[in-house]
Structures are given as C-alpha cells and as structure tokens.
Symmetry: C2
Subunit: 448 residues, 2 copies
C-alpha cells in the first residue's frame, strides 16, 4: 500500500437499494427486503470486499395515507426487518465487518438502547455501531402516542441528553471489573462498578447497565450531523459522520467546519471519519453506466414518483408528466416548494425529471461513470479534505454492491486507497478511531 | 410413539443457570453469561435434544444497592446479554428450536415490540415467541424516569392494552398482501394492508407495522399468569403459560381454572400449553442427585444468601446462620416476612437453610432424583392434568442441560412422552398451537 491515506467504506443496505424502482429491476428479488438470506448475502459480499461496515437507515413507521391515490401500493419501502434484530443475526454469521444500526432518540429510552448496542457489541466481538437520529415525521409520531412530531429544538435537546446517558451507562463497568473468583465467592470488584444516577431535563436514569463493558470499550457512534444542533452532537460524540454535501466546495467547508469543532471537545481530527453517501452507477463505458441509470428511472411508476413531490407541492397528477413543473397558486405551498421549484427552474426539469432526481437516490449523491471515473471522483474528495471515506448506497441490492466489489474496489486498492484485507477485528480498528476513555478513569478494553 | 399425549419442553437459559451459586460450580465458566458462544452451545444442545424452545427471562436493571454489605459483588446475576439481541443471533445459527424472549409491557412501546418480534419471527423462519411481563421493581423503574414502580392495577391494565395493540399491529398485512408485480409496478394489494388506528387509555398507535406477516402468522405469546389479572391476559392471548404451582393439587386446580377460562375467548383448551418450571438435580442414584444439590448449596456465600431475605426480613447478618430464623420485633416487618417465616417454622429451617431454598431455584420447583424418579413425577403431572409440558431451568448451564439430555430426555422418549425428532419447522408446529385468525379476516400464513 502506498503512503496515501486509506479510506473507509460503509455499505448502506436498507430495503433493496436506494432507488425507488429497485424492486422492479430485472435482477431484483422484490421480496428480499423481508428475507434474512438476502441481507446475509449482502453483508457477506461486503465483508469479502473488506468494507469497514454495513449500515441500516431506519424510520419507525410508514405513511398510512395514499397520497396521491395509487402511490403507496407501488412503494417497496413498506416492508423490511427491524435493524437491530437484523444486525444481531448478521453478527452471528459474519466475522469482521462492522454492523451499524440506526435507532431514534425521539421514541426510545436510553437504557434499552445502551443495553441492546452493548449486547450487539459483545455478540459481534466488537463490531457494533449506533447511528443516532431524531424522528421528524408525523407517521412515526402517530405510532408513539402523539399526533405530530416533536419540534426541532426539543428533538435535538432530547437527543443530546439521550447520548450522554447512553455513554454514561456504557461506562458502568470497568473493563477489569469481573474477578470471577470461585474460591472467595467474589464475582466482581465493587469499586469497578459505577452507578450513573443521571437526572436531567428529559431523562432520569439510575443504572448501572446490566451488560459488561464491550470489546470496543463502547460501540462506535455514528451521526448525520447536517444542522447546527446535529453538528454539535457530532462534534462531541460521533466517530463516523454521514455527510450530506453534494458538491466538492460545500463538502470541503462542511468537513473543515466539523473537524475544527472537535478540538473544543478534546478530540483529534482523526477520531472522526466523514463519509458522504454516494449511489454509483458503474459501467465499462460511461454510456453503459448511463444506460443503467436510465433503465431504473424508467421503472419509477408515475403514481409513486408524484408521491415524492406531494408533501411539498401537493397533487400534480392532473398535469402532463413531461411538461414543465407548475407554479403553485397558493403562496403557502409556493413557499414550502421553494427548493424543489428552484431546482426545476435551474435545470429546466419536467415533472417526471424532477421526481426522478429524488427517486434515484433519496439524498445520496449520484455518480455515473466508469470505475476509473468514480474512483477519480472519490480520490478528489479525499485529497481535497471533503471526505475520509464513503457510505456506498447501491441503487439495487445485491447487484450494485456486486458491481462495486468487482469493478470499483479493485481500482481503489490498485491506487493504495483501500485495504486488501482486514488488519483488525473491531469496527474501531477498521476505522482507526480510538477507544474513548471512561468517565470514571478505569480501563476501557477488556483483556482478550 | 404410544398414544400418550406428547409433552412440550422449554429450556430456561438465563445467566449460568438458576442456582445462585452456579458460577462457582467446578464445571462452570463464570463469564459465560456475557459470551455468545456459551448460549450458542446451550441452544444447539437443546435443539439436538429436540426441545420445543429456549427461553430467556429478563429484568431491565440490576439493584444498585449493596444490601446487606458485601452481597452485590457476590452475585453473578449482574451481567448478561439483552434477550432479543441474543435470540436474534441464535435465530441465525440454529434451525428448528423455538426462541422465546421476555419483554416488559411497563417500559416499552408496543410498536417497537411488535416490530422486533415480527422481525425475529421472519429471521428465524417462524420460531419466535414473546414472554409478556410487567415490571414490578424499583430498580427497573429508576432506569426509566421513575422513582418507584407502577402499582399493580396500572401495570396490568397497561399490559392488557399493550398486548392488544401488538396483536393488532401484527395483523397489519394479510399473508398474501404482496403482489410484487414488476410488470404493473404494483408492490402490494392496498385492500390487504390494514391501519390499526388504536386509541386507548395508555396508548395511541396508528400503524401499520412495517414488517410483513411472519411465518407463524403471529409470534407465539407466552405468559406467567399467576395473579387474577395475569390469568385473564393469559386466557385471552397466551399460548404458553409458565405456571408456578409447586404441588400437584395446586397445579391441578390452577390448570383447570385457566383452561376453563379459554372458552370465554373462543379458544380450545389445546391452544394453550401450561408448562411449570422445574429445576432438576439428576443422579444415577438418589443419593448422587442429592450430593449435587448439596454441593451447590454449600457454595452460596452467606452475604449473598442473606440478600435474598433482606427485602422481606431486613439485615440478619448479626444472627448465627445455623440458628433459628428470628422473629422480627417490628410488626410491619413481621407482616411482610409472613410467608418466609411460616416456611421456616413449618420445616424448622435455620437462616442458612431458608436462604438456600430461595437461592437454589428462584421459584422454580426443585426435583432431586434418578431419571426414572424425575420422569415419573413429570408424567404424574401430565396425567393428572396439572401440566402440558415443562420449562426446564437447570441449576448450572450447560452442565444441567447436558445431564438432562443424556438421562431424562431418553427416558421420556422411551415412554412415548416426547418427540425423537422435529416434525415441523415453526414453534407453533412444535407446540401444536394454532395460528390465530387475523382480526381483518385475511389469510394468516404466507405461502412457503
């Protein structure tokens, strides 16, 4: 390997891939997102390709409203497996790859989350990570005794306290607390058990946690960190950040801003890996790559496509799909739809083209090209200090991952940008992020 | 197999077994309750012995108070793995055995529970069960924003509504809802998706669940059902009941009472299996069995043993362990300690003997004898209609399970009381309990 800085790679594997029409692709098995065997194949393929981790995004509910009519029944994003349950099954059937699951701080309790992720970390031998999110949709709120979602400020305030409690619970046991002395009958050293006794605005949690310290000291913390409050939580706690910027200049300034915040929390810049999401369409030629992209886009049912515009622009089904995006009459609607309208005007998009830009990647950055072109782009972001790695969000699974492993990973390895084998066993070791100290000062990594 | 009614067998596998001194047994690995490999061995041993299911009891917290001093650090019941996380990992590494995890209705949300168990049922190919409990300890309350536990009435009212919501969410999708029609772009039939829209006293949950109907229609529902409110929840919903009676006459009347309640809910008596917990000490001779029992009891550290009396009788460490159990001066203490005192007086027990009766099985019924004696007793309970099967709670794991599989299971099989191989694949098939109908009338078992 050259002296170039190696990059980190995550694989996003929700549903059947990130494209809204993934399930209609000729190579897709439409029911696979409900089948463990599909995810086992995906995780093992990512492990064979030496990815740092697999990742599961999550929402705790699906919309129950069929807006516009006929849209809901065309969406594959309605049935799946719960992330932690799925990752624990994968922990027992993989050996090296990191396992990151999303859990919401809005509708969970810190004790459950601390306990489950600590257990996953033990079961996987130190490969667990928690992607910290807040829940912002009414569909989720309505599954948890509310009519509407919590306001932004409350959500983030609760999230910050939630994370502090979880970290505190993970410090309950020093790594060398258990003496297991059959002769004297002493199971653990009481000086090495710590009772958190947290009392805050949102939570009152005594502890201790009933799970011994995990092989990574603590599971890896992951965050999206887009807003100011999100970036502050990330700066304090996150070891992986799934950044959102779509162009290099924004990426560079986001990276610089976030890394600069780390010092205030006594953290080194290397202790956080910034990994933007990308959805690659890979071809032996650029034309072949574009064909793959166009094939999938043509499979987005108009009823489904229009549903991605519905929330912001209302029902557009009366307008011609290949005509211009109409200007809403209602000034209130016009204000909500501002960003979408600006995009449509800038690129002179039709209604169909506008919904396709959403349906193709759901916020992940789309790269279309040859392996060389895609790796050039990845390398440019790393060299410009806009990324430490990437969260790969294939359009269709397992197909997109198999293509990436066959064509892109070898090119990354040829350039010395990516490992050819695992050198460590834990997710922290793969990422090169340190084990955090315990707030009580005790040892943090159990003897192996 | 004879015409005798076959029995169901569950294996309880919390910590290192049900005896308080299990970890000090010469054959025990004291740290095993934090290690996945231990539970994998236990589950696979139970599967090789054709058990219906493995079962994990649970509490969401451990006491943080060291009463009396020096007791807490002598308890192995302080570090474990979270049950659902553990069972999901076992789902991926076993093939037939049922997987039952406890989850509390007091400090959980129905949507999470419905989603996780439905996912476990899919991942395991139809082997999941949920043991429904309420949480009654202050140690648990203090991990969930409260000072004290909820009162009995509120807990059971909440539990009953919780179970109704979970069952409703599990009915969200008819078994044939997914059309996966790539040609037309229709993923599911909207008439076969049901939105619960529950509004009750404790919960408001809209749904639908984001998990497709599971291979068992619904995961199996398990309950302990000791109190009147608990028995009512059991009669309405439970398919397995872990009964508590310790003598045959009480067992018979409990069995008759509970089975009689089923008709009111339109259920057949065969649709519920009553399975008392037993902790067997097995020897080639009765003397050898008793030696095993005495060996473990001698390993209960007095500090730990006294902690089992502390909650009801206060600190007895100033009294001689081999002297009589003292009469508390305080009439209030005397009233709380009434049952323990009556037991001590009836059997003329010393302090040491009194705490040993608790430490040896934590409420599970203790059977000491040869395989023939133990099977005689099991058969007598089944013939007398006091049990449909048993939940085996070995004193030490994996040792007690290995002995049971080597000596007791073959005797049960010889008498035609227990299967020699699995004939089905799902936990419902093992138990012989039916797939419940959907409240919406649609198909409940997906095509295989």
């Amino acid at each position: 390997m050259s002296t170039r800085k190696p990059i980190s790679l995550g694989l996003s594997m929700r549903y059947l891939g990130y494209h809204a029409a993934a399930w209609r692709h000729p190579a897709a098995d439409p029911g696979a997102a409900s089948d463990f065997s599909h995810f086992l194949h995906v995780a093992r393929t990512a492990e064979a390709a030496k990815f740092d981790m697999v990742f599961l995004a999550d929402g705790i509910g699906i919309r129950a409203k069929d807006d516009p009519p006929g849209s809901l029944c065309r969406s594959a994003q309605t049935a799946e497996l719960e992330p932690l349950t799925l990752l624990s099954a994968l922990a027992a059937t993989t050996t090296h790859i990191g396992l990151v699951a999303t859990a919401s701080t809005t509708y969970n309790e810190p004790f459950h989350i601390a306990r489950k992720y600590a257990s996953l970390d033990r079961i996987s031998g130190g490969r667990a990570g928690w992607n910290i999110v807040t829940s912002w949709s009414d569909a989720e709120a309505q599954n948890f005794n509310r009519d509407q979602h919590l306001d932004y400020g409350t959500r983030y305030e609760r999230a910050a306290e939630f994370v502090e409690v979880v970290k505190g619970l993970w410090d309950s046991w020093d790594a060398d607390a258990f003496r297991h002395d059959k002769e004297s009958g002493v199971f653990f050293d009481p000086a090495k058990l710590h009772v958190l006794s947290h009392q805050g605005k949102h939570f009152k949690v005594k502890g201790p946690l009933s799970v011994a310290r995990s092989p990574q000291g603590r599971p890896v913390l992951v965050q999206a960190g887009a807003s100011e409050a999100g970036m502050e939580i990330a700066a304090e706690s996150a070891e992986v950040v799934y950044a959102v910027p779509h162009d290099l200049e924004t990426g560079k300034s986001y990276y610089a801003d976030l890394k600069a915040r780390l010092a205030r929390h006594g953290r080194a810049p290397e202790g956080m890996k910034i990994m933007p999401g990308i959805t690659p369409f890979i071809g032996r030629t650029e034309a072949e790559a574009r064909e793959k992209y166009d094939l999938l886009n043509a499979l987005v049912a108009p009823e489904l496509g229009l549903s991605y515009l519905y929330g912001q622009m209302g029902d557009l089904s009366a307008y011609p799909l290949d005509g211009p995006v109409p200007e809403p009459n209602d000034p209130k609607v016009r204000s909500i739809a501002k960003n979408l309208l600006a995009l449509a005007r800038r690129d002179d998009l039709t209604i169909r083209q506008l919904y396709t830009t959403i349906a193709a990647g759901f916020g992940s950055r789309i790269l279309i090209g040859t392996p060389k072109q895609i790796v050039d782009e990845m390398e440019a972001w790393v060299e410009a200090e806009a990324a430490d790695g990437f969260n790969i969000c294939p359009a269709v699974l397992p197909l997109g991952l198999e293509e990436f492993a066959e064509m892109v990973t070898p090119e990354l390895q040829r350039r010395g940008l990516f490992r050819t084998d695992y050198s460590g066993r834990t997710l922290r070791e793969h990422l090169g992020v340190p084990v955090p100290a315990s707030r009580y000062g005790g040892p943090v990594v159990p003897p192996r």
